[in-house]
Symmetry: C2
Subunit: 193 residues, 2 copies
DNA sequence: TACTGCATGTAATCGGTTACATGATTGC
DNA sequence: GCAATCATGTAACCGATTACATGCAGTA
């Protein structure tokens, strides 16, 4: 049930259409909570029915409509309520580690390739997290700028600091995974040679 | 779709009832892939229909039946196929980090409590992963012993080594989270004092 | 004019969660 | 005999994924 709060949080920076939200979720900011676009559109409709967001409709061409969503007062309250509530720990489920528990089955070079893919994938993510932390420190992302514009000067430092802390945390995680994959590769080499 | 493979993997050590599998998933071994018992029972029935597992029924009392599941030859093939296939990266979704991105909203002591909960939760997990890695090295867990009994001596080292590597990886992750929470606590202290 | 990418959805399906039900066994 | 726990499910629901549909805008 966190998608709704991710949406409320992004909308807190300013109004946005479903498509723009979908883009946010896919690339720049909220890689912290992935969501495919059909889910975003349907969740926005649900939030609208619950009056946590409101939509401003504009015509697009002759028939199609564009809907820009913005937070309502109730939506802002809900966002603040959620942020103050302690998050209960998530259930654990990791497909890569599950599979690695059974690496005695495949041939050594298949195992090696799997660790290499794991490493490559987290190296790419690491670059992304680091770049984004950098952008945040420079206060460059559009979303952050809008958010800062709507908040008093005195609060700016905290807004930036916690987001940077999150992205640095993600980077640290990626480094942990890379190190794990490398120890894995050393292990394959030892076992098979 | 990894639950089915987790089940096949556990059953590869030897036949087991749904209840015993549910216990495995809840406590000792496969904390790597959490699953509640209703899902386990239904997935087992599905695996049975697909003939990847077979059930031996025994009476329990006068009406109830106990069903012990075991791998079929097709099930073993599927397990090996899955273990050799490169796992595609999972979609990212983290509620705790999402919330931490918006820690400018709650009061500092609420934020502090949240980081403390995060740390405590991962400290507990760390102890669990470390204990389990220890047990694996000593070849103590029942499941591992059964798995080893059904494999040639020459393969024992690999079976143990990869599982230990997974649990050590999990422990390392937990340490990363603990360190993140502690840097978070330092950050709150700095911001609020 | 056709093609590609932007933009907004609906529908079917599936995996996972929660609540509920029911019988068997064991120890007090 | 009763409570707790072992054991096996069913049903309703919800969040997430995938496939499909449709219209608009710019450009080759």
């Amino acid at each position: 049930m966190s998608l709704r709060h991710a949406l409320l949080a992004v909308l807190d920076a300013g109004p946005m259409t479903g498509y723009e939200l979908a883009k946010q979720f896919d690339q720049s900011a909220s890689q912290i909570w992935h969501a495919p676009h059909p889910q975003i559109y349907t969740e926005l409709r649900k939030l609208e029915r619950e009056e946590l967001v409101a939509a401003d409709e504009q015509l697009r061409g002759t028939k199609a409509v564009k809907r820009a969503y913005r937070l309502t007062a109730a939506g802002e309250r809900e966002l603040r309520r959620w942020a103050s509530e302690v998050e209960e720990p998530q259930r654990f489920r990791d497909a890569a580690y599950l599979k690695a528990s059974y690496f005695e089955y495949p041939e050594p070079d298949v195992v090696r390739r799997q660790f290499e893919v794991h490493r490559a994938c987290h190296e790419e993510q690491l670059r992304r997290w680091e770049r984004h932390a950098e952008l945040l420190r420079a206060r460059e992302p559009e979303l952050l700028r809008k958010r800062l514009a709507g908040a008093p000067e005195s609060g700016h430092e905290a807004i930036v600091a916690y987001k940077v802390h999150v992205y640095e945390g993600m980077a640290e995680r990626a480094r942990t995974e890379i190190a794990w994959a490398e120890r894995g590769l050393a292990l394959v080499a030892k076992m098979s040679g």
